[in-house]
């Protein structure tokens, strides 16, 4: 990583950390910023699959929702330690992801997408119709999780910093993975799976590994959600959420990590702004997305290229 890039990274983090100090940052905007960063991080984890490995998952909402339910179930029973919640989420999401990734990666192309979708729909239906988990209402009115006894994450500000740390760690993990040999193999698989196989790579194992990592990052993001919203509902796992995550990656820029974070934040902010003016906000969002896909095929991050900046390498 060049010195300039490191400095830019420090600047970006400093700006994000200082964001709550801005005068107009009300609680409402802090929660909006929480959502923007949370979905940015989740879109980034999906980029490991979509951008680097060439696998399109239509079932990431299930990882997100399961993480949220894992936390919600514990909070509901009075277990408020954030660490226990996160650990439980890792277990639940990890087990589910193991099954999904095993079966999904056994098939290629559209079948991978379909299998992830079908698994996610099963999970959605299960939570939607199981009264133990509140059925369609989900689990509501949850207490705030605490970082340590007596230190609850109970304000938008604390939630914001929590998600900022989560984004930072998730970014580090993803960046290290894609710059390591592991990342090269993922790109090789994306470019030509058969070639990777006859070079001696157990392609399915690599695909499973990257699926699991992506699912766990997404699940951990989900586990942070009830702390901000005080609920977990089946709607979090609706297939449209998976679709939105894919859109976030696309508009941000495939295979760049940073792009999807921007894409996720952009999507959340756009949705919030437009929906506060009109009910048919999805039409407006759709038009904006069509514009981006048609005129900025490299995504929002591609603007840098248009402005003469350094072009982001899709594989690095």
């Amino acid at each position: 990583m060049s010195r300039a890039l490191t400095w830019r990274a420090v600047l970006v983090w400093a700006a994000l950390a200082a964001l709550p100090a801005l005068p107009f940052m009300s609680k409402f905007y802090l929660l909006l910023a929480f959502d923007a960063l949370l979905f940015g991080a989740i879109a980034m984890s999906l980029d490991l699959l979509m951008g680097y490995t060439g696998l399109v998952s239509f079932g990431h909402a299930a990882f997100f929702g399961l993480g949220a339910y894992a936390t919600a179930v514990l909070l509901e029973r009075g277990i408020v330690s954030l660490w226990v919640c996160l650990l439980f989420a890792v277990l639940v999401v990890g087990l589910y992801a193991l099954v999904v990734s095993y079966f999904s990666t056994a098939r290629r192309g559209i079948y991978f997408a379909l299998l992830t979708l079908i698994f996610a729909e099963v999970v959605y239906t299960f939570f939607r119709y199981t009264q133990t988990f509140g059925g369609s209402d989900g689990i509501q009115g949850l207490p705030a999780p605490s970082l340590a006894p007596g230190f609850a994450i109970d304000t938008p500000l604390r939630n914001y910093y929590l998600v900022l740390v989560y984004l930072g760690l998730a970014y580090l993990v993803c960046r290290i993975l894609v710059t390591a040999h592991f990342g090269r193999v993922l790109v090789a698989i994306r470019e030509n799976e058969d070639r990777a196989r006859f070079l001696g790579y157990n392609v399915q194992r690599y695909k499973m590994a990257v699926c699991m990592i992506s699912a766990l990052i997404t699940g951990l993001g989900g586990a942070l959600y009830p702390g901000r919203s005080a609920f977990a509902t089946p709607d979090l796992m609706l297939w449209t959420v998976s679709g939105e995550l894919i859109i976030m990656v696309m508009i941000g820029g495939l295979g760049t990590l940073v792009g999807p974070v921007i894409g996720g934040a952009f999507f959340v902010l756009l949705q919030e702004k437009v929906s506060s003016y009109v009910d048919w906000y999805f039409i407006v969002i759709g038009l904006v997305l069509i514009f981006i896909v048609l005129f900025m095929p490299r995504g929002l991050l591609g603007i840098r290229g248009l402005l003469g900046g350094r072009r982001w390498r899709a594989t690095a």
């Binding site: 090789a188 470019e191 030509n192 070639r195 196989r197 006859f198 001696g200």
Partner: protein, 235 residues
């Protein structure tokens, strides 16, 4: 080293290979000749595990390959250079080469450096292009990269599918010399070629395939002289 016995294989319900038997002994370079669509590529794909044979046996150094996955076969020491120079276009020359190392038993940094040095000794052109994406290389350079990639893996048997296809005469000579060099280094080669002249110049012996069967087997010298070669290949 590699022994196929009565191999039948095909795609879906369509049979392509009708009981092919052939053998490549250690240290040999063997040519597999034949016109387009005679089953040469299918034979290679079956040998490296992309296609499960319907019947018959495939052995590499006594190990049964018929039920093994391609990555396992690669790790046994079987390298494959596919036709049309199939490298990873978005990855740099260095990354392409380092990916090749995965099939090697020893992947330490010392081995990687040594193998890179060897490869650059044979293909100085690749050393000059080390940080360039694969897609910016010329056809000949991509072919060199595809060969260098299996050399990185330390493959003991290399299966090559039409390495000279579509290359200029100068480059064909270079590839031919490279195959001879591989042989000198002790690597065993099974070379699938339509260009019989090039193949027979470097190979010890050859097989001629027609409609999914081996129809003629002889030494390169005999193949060059035989009227059968002319009849079957039109050269």
């Amino acid at each position: 080293m590699l022994k196929l016995t009565d191999v039948h294989a095909g795609y879906g319900a369509t049979p392509i290979l009708f009981g092919v038997s052939l053998e490549v002994r250690a240290g040999e370079a063997v040519a597999l000749l034949g016109r387009n669509g005679m089953g040469k590529t299918t034979l290679l794909k079956t040998a490296i595990g992309f296609l499960a044979p319907w019947r018959g046996a495939i052995e590499f150094e006594g190990v049964d390959l018929t039920r093994r996955a391609p990555h396992e076969i690669a790790r046994l020491g079987v390298g494959f250079v596919p036709e049309n120079r199939r490298i990873f276009p978005g990855l740099t020359v260095r990354e392409n080469l380092e990916l090749g190392l995965s099939a090697a038993a020893d992947r330490s940094a010392a081995v990687r450096r040594r193998r890179l040095d060897e490869v650059f000794h044979h293909f100085p052109r690749l050393a000059e292009r080390i940080e360039q994406p694969g897609k910016t290389l010329s056809g000949g350079e991509q072919q060199m990269l595809a060969i260098a990639r299996v050399m990185m893996a330390g493959a003991r048997l290399i299966l090559m599918d039409e390495p000279t296809q579509g290359l200029a005469p100068g480059l064909i000579r270079h590839i031919r010399d490279m195959i001879a060099e591989l042989k000198r280094l002790g690597v065993t080669v099974l070379l699938v070629e339509q260009n019989a002249r090039v193949a027979l110049a470097v190979c010890d012996r050859g097989y001629i395939m027609e409609k999914g069967s081996i129809v003629f087997a002889a030494s390169s010298h005999e193949l060059r002289e035989s009227p059968v070669t002319r009849e079957k290949l039109g050269v």
